[in-house]
């Protein structure tokens, strides 16, 4: 009675092979935006023809066949704005389900053709397409403008770097801040915590004074990013040479586990995720005070607009506070959830054109100002303010809090090829929701993570790389 999945896979495989075989043609969903006129820029054409010279051309975007770019619908703006800026550019884009991308690369590899020249995806997905079997991304180093990589936030560009190689440019970063319920905090006379220890004490206070109010969520994969990443718990520290360090018994993990168990027990840390209807209802009922979460929660989750998820009106309900510090440490590191990147195929016939496009979309304020996510390229960050300044939802200067927090995004949290988040949800969140404590099950994660790391070609190392 079950869907014959194996047959579905085979059908999908054959379809993908057919699609790969037809890659010379234009697929149904493909939209040709612009064609090179061929007459406007003879200089540029000459320069591109020389091909082998990196960054040698004045107009690297002028090419004789379209650049094949794979994006999602929100990124359509990137292409249209690029084409407005460089009318001679030649781009053909397609909306794809990027989760399928690593699998498709294998099929393209087998077929020997079909790869997109430029791919937009999360660093985790690009990492999966970067191993020996997939070997998709091009090292962009020779094609980028001098010093451009240094302009990215270290925590933003880190997942794109593999030793000396630059395998992608980060589009946006989703570092976390502490969102807070400004009217309620004022009403109850509470002060914002600045450290995790204060955060825990705050939770105890709230549980005593105002039971039912929430100060965060520990109910989906975001719990790992929100609580364990800022503590620098060594879930996956990469050494840049194919080694990964995993040690979940480390004190930087156990202190988070103890805090989480305490706050879950007190009922101030939700056991369901931020998108669970029960959690949404809590926020809508104003029964929350703090919520550490990614910077995009402001515009895309709290919203304060008619179709908003958490708030349908904007009346200064929500403020943003800086990331919390673990007392005794120097830096209040923060984690992230989301943020994607652009990679170029090593099979592309037009590396200069592809690199030019990728560099422009990640660094130009023209696109980054309307892109939505917080720019990973620091000099473009001020353009982001335009996205949110006029939202009456905010109670304080959210822009400067989020901007200052961007430097605190911890670059040492490895972007690995295996599904560590799915494993975390399966082995930790599931049992916790069924009544276990985090302490009882967090250690169960270690062996599966090690096995997954080895299966994916990482070497397990015994000492922690410098962070």
């Amino acid at each position: 009675m079950t869907i014959r999945a194996s047959r579905l896979i085979i059908v999908a495989l054959v379809l993908a092979l057919v699609a790969a075989a037809c890659s010379g043609g234009v697929a149904e969903t493909t939209t040709t935006v612009d064609e090179v006129t061929g007459t406007t820029s003879s200089e540029g054409t000459q320069a591109t023809d020389s091909g082998s010279e990196p960054s040698g051309s004045d107009q690297p975007w002028v090419i004789d066949e379209p650049l094949k770019v794979w994006i999602d619908p929100p990124r359509e703006k990137a292409v249209t704005l690029y084409l407005e800026t460089f009318p001679d550019a030649n781009i053909e884009y397609e909306f794809v389900d990027r989760g399928e991308f690593p699998a498709q690369v294998l099929l393209f590899n087998a077929a020997g053709e079909g790869w997109p020249d430029v791919m937009f995806a999360e660093p985790e997905i690009l990492a999966r397409a970067a191993d020996e079997q997939h070997d998709y991304p091009l090292d962009l180093t020779p094609y980028l403008s001098d010093g451009v990589v240094d302009g990215f936030y270290p925590g933003g560009i880190a997942p794109c770097l593999d030793g000396d190689r630059v395998l992608c440019l980060r589009n946006d970063i989703a570092h976390m801040v502490v969102w807070y319920n400004a009217p309620k905090m004022a009403e109850f006379g509470y002060e914002l915590p600045t450290t995790w220890q204060e955060y825990e004490a705050f939770g105890e206070q709230v549980a005593a004074d105002h039971p039912g109010f929430l100060i965060g969520a520990f109910g989906d994969e975001q719990a790992l990013d929100t609580y364990y990443w800022p503590s620098r718990c060594p879930v996956q520290v990469l050494d840049g040479e194919g080694g990964v360090f995993i040690d979940l018994a480390d004190q930087r993990c156990t202190r988070v586990t103890e805090m989480a168990d305490n706050l879950i027990e007190l009922g101030v840390l939700s056991k369901v995720g931020p998108f669970d209807p029960a959690f949404v209802e809590k926020i809508q009922n104003d029964e929350w005070l703090l919520f550490p979460a990614a910077n995009w929660y402001g515009e895309f989750v709290f919203q304060g607009r008619e179709d908003g998820l958490y708030y349908q009106t904007g009346e200064g309900q929500v403020g943003a506070a800086p990331p919390l510090l673990w007392e005794g440490e120097d830096v209040a590191w923060t984690g992230a959830r989301g943020g994607a990147a652009w990679a170029v195929s090593q099979h592309t016939g037009h590396p200069e054109a592809a690199a030019h496009f990728v560099e422009w979309v990640t660094t130009s304020p023209i696109f980054q100002g309307v892109a939505g996510g917080y720019p990973a390229y620091a000099p473009a960050a001020p353009a982001w303010a335009g996205n949110i300044n006029d939202n009456p939802l905010y109670a304080n200067d959210v822009v400067s809090v989020v901007t200052e927090a961007a430097d605190l995004l911890d670059p040492s949290w490895g972007s690995v090829r295996y599904d560590y988040l799915g494993t975390f949800v399966d082995l930790v969140i599931g049992p916790v929701q069924s009544g276990s404590t985090v302490a009882e099950v967090f250690g169960d994660l270690e062996e599966p993570l090690r096995s997954l790391a080895e299966l994916n070609g990482y070497a397990l190392i015994d000492s922690e790389p410098a962070r």
């Binding site: 194996s6 690593p102 699998a103 393209f108 997939h134 599931g430």
Partner: protein
């Protein structure tokens, strides 16, 4: 022996007339045969070659892996868990599915009124929702915040969808999804089988004083036994391949579920995340062998092909 020779004699008599009949039969089945060969037989045979193939960037190098694919598949740290998950699912879904379908078909057949015909159609409706939509519908049905059965779910101690779709409940949930997706078709088949039960036997039993239940249990069910055995074999083989339900539940991210809950998902992960199509082939063929073994056992201890 006598029976066989009689059939042969029958065939001999008909042989000449049969040639054109064979051709027309072939013509009718040809489109199916082409698809069967392309999407059933060929991939199956290809999978056998993949068993011993090594993969380099998606390109197979045949017969270069030796037994390495088998080693990777059978020493994988998740194999025990996925096997256990599948065993739980099969233990619930196969016997219960066959039992409920038989029960519903027999109940429908007891009173052949207009209402029964309507019900028979109704049973068929969920089959239109097979696969992904069925899972999505299930998520709503089991979420106490939106489900029409919310009071019942809450009475059973479920405050949120993460309670109803908790890991211990998953085999039952998948059983419910697959039951409703497939039951209608089987009920229709069983009902057809029940209609073929000779009327004189039923009348004779009624004259002898059999109650409707006795009639069902001692006459009707034994008469449709071949259908029941057939369903047992098909449903077992189908359910071994469980994939869409856990995969969609995982993708919907409403409840914690392993990325590799069933063996088929494990095979998928090997093929499309790691590019180890050979290992995936090992797991796929292992599932095929389990299905064939189960079929062989069922057929060995029943008389499906002798009736």
């Amino acid at each position: 022996m006598r029976r066989v020779s009689r059939i042969e004699g029958f065939a001999n008599d008909r042989r000449q007339a049969g040639t054109s009949r064979d051709l027309s039969g072939l013509a009718f089945t040809s489109s199916y045969l082409v698809l069967l060969v392309l999407f059933g037989v060929f991939p199956g045979v290809y999978a056998v070659f993949l068993l011993f193939a090594e993969f380099d960037q998606g390109t197979p190098r045949f017969f270069e892996a030796g037994l390495e694919n088998f080693r990777i598949a059978f020493t994988d740290f998740r194999l025990g868990e996925v096997t256990l998950n599948l065993a739980k699912f099969l233990a619930v879904s196969v016997p219960l599915g066959v039992f409920l379908v038989t029960l519903l078909a027999v109940l429908l057949h007891m009173r052949r009124s207009r209402g029964a015909a309507v019900l028979r159609t109704l049973y068929f409706v969920p089959a239109a929702l097979a696969g992904v939509p069925a899972v999505l519908l299930t998520i709503f049905m089991f979420d106490p915040n939106v489900s029409p059965f919310a009071p019942l779910l809450r009475m059973l101690g479920n405050e949120s969808v993460v309670n109803t779709l908790s890991q211990g409940n998953l085999p039952t949930i998948f059983m419910i999804i697959s039951f409703f997706a497939g039951a209608g078709a089987w009920i229709a088949i069983f009902y057809g089988g029940l209609n073929a039960v000779p009327q004189e036997l039923i009348e004779a039993s009624v004259v002898d004083g059999a109650s409707p239940w006795q009639l069902a249990w001692h006459l009707k069910v034994p008469m449709i036994k071949p259908y029941i055995i057939y369903m047992l074999v098909i449903v077992f083989a189908g359910n071994v391949q469980l994939f869409a339900e856990p995969q969609v539940l995982k993708a919907a991210a409403v409840a914690p579920i392993s990325p590799t809950w069933s063996p088929n998902q494990l095979a998928f992960s090997f093929a499309f995340e790691l590019g180890l199509f050979g290992v995936a082939a090992v797991i796929s063929l292992a599932m095929l062998i389990v299905g064939l073994l189960a079929a062989a056992i069922v057929l060995r201890f029943t008389d499906l092909f002798r009736t």
